[in-house]
Amino acid sequence: MKKYDVVMIGGGHNGLVTACYLQRAGLDVIVLEKNAWVGGAATSRELTPGFLYSNCSYVCSLFRPEIMRDLELPKHGLQVISYEGGAVFTRDGDYLASYRDHDSHRREFARFSKRDAEAYDRYARDVTRQCRFIQPLLMRTAPDPFSFKPRDLQEMLYLAKKFGDFSPAEMAATLRFWTMSIADFLDEYFETDVVKAYLALSGIIGTALGPMSPGTAYVLLHHYMGEVDGSVGAWGYARGGMGAVTSALASSFKASGGTIRTGADVAKIMTHRGKATGAVLADGEEVLGKLVVSNADVKRTFLKLVDESALPERFVHRVRHFKMRGSSGKLNIALDSLPEFPALPSGSSCIRGDLHFTDTIERMEKGYDDWKAGRWSADPFVDMMIPTTLDPTMAPPGKHFVSCFVQYCPPKVEGNDWTDADRDAFAETVIKQISDYSPGFRERILHMEVRTPREIEQEVGLTEGNIFQGELTFDQLLFNRPVPGYAQYRSPVRGLYICGSSTHPGGGVMGAPGRNAAAEILRDLRHAPSHMSSAHDVI
C-alpha cells in the first residue's frame, strides 16, 4: 500500500498553501478533501447556471503576496482587483461613502462632521502604525515563551526588541489597542455615529463579540493589515471569485506533482504509539502517510479526528475551551439586474464597494445582544458586496452576484439546532433589511443560497461556522493560538501538524498559517526552506 510523505486533511487555502510548499520541497503530498471541489472557505461555486458565488469568503486583501509569488499563483490564474470604496446607508435616507481619493474621503466625512473629517488622518496614522508593528509577525512562527530552545529565545528576543524599540507612549498605545473595544477606540477619534459605525465593522466581522466588547480593536487591525499590491489596508476582489485563490493553489500544487483527492472525507486520523500514521476515510479506506497535516480547525482535528485517548488531558481541555463560536451567516444571491439604491446618486462608485445598513454602533451592539440570547439579530449587520460590478466573469452580462455577509447569527437557535424554517426566517430578516434601502431587490432575485452556521459547518467543516477557526482575541493570539505550548503548528501527536486558521496568525484568506506550518514541518525534516520567501520588509 502506498505511503505518502504527507497526508493533508482538507483542501482549504491554508492546506493547499502548506501542500504546495511541501510538494515543492520534494515531498510526495496528497490532499484529501471531503467535498467534490477544493477550496474550503475560499470557493467559487456555480450553484445556479451562469453565476459563480464566492459563497464563503468574498473579498481579498490579507493573502500574503510573498505566497502568491513563491507559488507562482498569477501564472496559475490568480488576479486580485482593487475596489473603490463603499457606503453605509443611514435611516434618514442619506449615506456615508468611502472614497479612495483622500480629499474626497475627507469631504464626505465633512458632510457629517468637519471635525471627524479632519480626525481621519490621525486615526489612519495610528492604525497604520499598529499594522506596521504586526505585519512582520505574520510570517514568523510565534515563539514558545516557556521554551529554552535557542530559536524560541531568539524569537522572544525579536518580539521584545520590536516592542522595546517603541517609545513608552507607543508601548502604551499598542497595549491599549490590543485590548480595547472598537467602540472605545473610535470614540477617541470621532464624534459622529455613522462614521463610527462605518469604521467599527472591521472590528466585529467574524467575531462573536459586540463592538463594545474589549478586544475588538485588534480584530479591526486584523482586517487592516492586508494589502493589494503594497497599498496597505486596501481590499480587492479575486477575479473569478475567491475560488480563484484556491484553484490557483490547486493548479500550482498539481503542476509540481501533488495529488488531490476530492470526495475523500476523513473520519479518523490514525495514530500508532503516539505517532500519526495516516487517515481513515468515511468509507473505511486508509491513506497512509509519514506525516499528517490537518487543515481542519483545532476542535475538529483534536476532538473529532484524533482519538482522545491519544492526547494529554490538559491539551484536550484547552482545545475544548478554545473560543470558536459561530457568529455569522451568509446569503449568496443571483440578481436579474443591478439593484437600485435611491439614496445613492446614479453612477456612484459606492455600489462597487461594500454596502452596509447599520448606521450606529448601538444598533450593532443590539444585534449582538440578540446573539447572546441565542437568536439571530432582528436588525442584523450586513456587509453586502456586488463583485460583478467589477468582475465580468461571475455572472451573465447585466446580471449580478451579490454576497451578503450577515452578523450576528448563532450556532444554535435558542439552544436548538437550526431548522430549515429558521434558516428561511433568517434569510427573510436580511432581505427585508436590504429591501428597505433597495426597493425591488426581492423581485430581482433569481436564486439564493442561505448559509447559517449549520450549513457552513456541514459543508466547509468549520466548527460552529466560525470563519476564523477561532476568535481573534488577545488571549488566543501569538503563542497562545490555539493552545499554549502548541502554537508552533505541532501537536501532542508526533507527526501530526495543524496548518489552518486556528493557528498563528489566524483567520482570513491569508495563507500565512499554511506557509508557517510548512516551514516548521520542513524544519523537522531538516529540509532547507529555500523556496520560501521571508516576509517582505516593512520599511
Binding site: G93, A110, D121, R125
Partner: protein, 406 residues
Amino acid sequence: MMHLTAFNRAEQGHILTPRLETPFHDQLAALSETNDWYSWAGYKAPHSIFDTELEYFAIRSTSALFDISPMVKYRIRGSDAARYLNRLTVRDVAKLGVGRVHYTAWCDDHGHVLDDGTLFRLATDDFRLCCQERHLPWLLDSAGGFSVEISEETAEIAAVALQGPTAFAVLEAAGFAGVETLKPFQLAEFAHADGSVTISRTGFTGDLGYELFAPAKAALSLWDRLWTAGSGFGLKAIGYDALNRARIEAGFIVANADFITADAALRADRERLPDEIGLDWLVDPQKPYFNGRDAILRARTKGTLKHVLVGLEIEGNIPAEGAIVYHRGKKEVGLVTAAIWSPLAKRNIAIATLSRPFGASVTDNLWVEIYAMRELQYQKLMKRVRVVSRPFVKLDRRSATPPGRF
C-alpha cells in the same frame, strides 16, 4: 437654517468634482498656457502658468500673483482667544499686537511639531491661523476651559499672494490707499467692492510682498482689480514651481516636504522637536505654559536633540535635491530636502536635515552625493558643502518702509 440632513444631502455631489476649483480658478485657467495642474489639498493648483523660469523672475524683478486659497485657514475668536493660542503655540501670543502677524508652530505633548503656520491677529479677540495640514480636532480638543470659538474657513476665504519688487506699486495703482504704511508682518483692512479685504505685508518669497484675504465671492473682482493695476508693473500669475524656488532662496521650510508633521508620521522616529527643524527661535520659554513645553526644554537641558535643519551651500552648480549628506565623504549624516541653483545669489543652495552633532557642532568635512541624470546616465558627484545661515538671500526691499515702487 437648513435642516442638517438636507445640508448633508446637498453636499453629496462633491464626489463629482474631486479636485475643487479655488475662487480664483477662472482667471488662472484663462491665463494658463501650460495647463499644468496638481492637487494642493484637493484643489486644482498650477505647477506653472506659462514658464516657471520666467515666473520666477517675475517674483524677483516685477511682481507675481500666486493663489494661496488652498492653504488651510482656521478662525479663532473669543475672549480667551489669545490665552488659548498662547497655550497652543510655542511663540508668545501676548507679544503679537492687533494688526500684526507672526510665524509660529505648535506641538503635541511630546514637543513634536504638528505644523508651522502664520497667526494673524485681526482684532483683540479675533485670530486667523494659516497652515499646510488640517488640525480641527487638535484645535478643538485644546480648547477645553477656554472661551473660544474655532471654525475652519478654508473654502470661505480666498487668498492670494502678491510678491515682488513692484508689489507695492501694484497695490497703490489698484487704489489701496494707506498700504504704504504697512510694515513687515503688519496687516490692515481695505475697502473692496461692497466689503473689505485684509492685506498683510507677508509672504513666502523673502521679497517685498503682500497677502490678500477676502471672502470667496469677492475673489474674482479682487483679482481683476490687481490684474488691471498690474499691467504697467509687469505683474504675472505664477505657479508653485516658481514660488518654490523663491521660498528656498528665502530659506523657508515646507511641512511634509522639509519635515514630517507629527500627525502624518507613520514612523515615530520621523517626528521632530522645533529645535530639530530650525524653529528653536520661535519657542519662548519665558511665556506661560504651552503644549510641548516641558519636552522641548527637557531635550535642551539633557542635550537629547537628535537632528538639526540647516542651510547648505554646495560647490558647483548642480542642484542636490534628495542627496544624501556625508561626513568625510563616507558616514551618512543626513538628507537634502530642497535644493536649487539660486539665480539671485548665484550659489548652489540647499536645505537639509542632519543627525546631530553633524550640522550643529560638527560642520566641517561635509559632502553631498549628487546623482545627476544626464541623457540616461547618472553622473555621480561628491561635492563639498558648507553650513550657512538662512535666508540665503536677503533683500533690503523686503523690509523697507515705506516700500519702494520697484
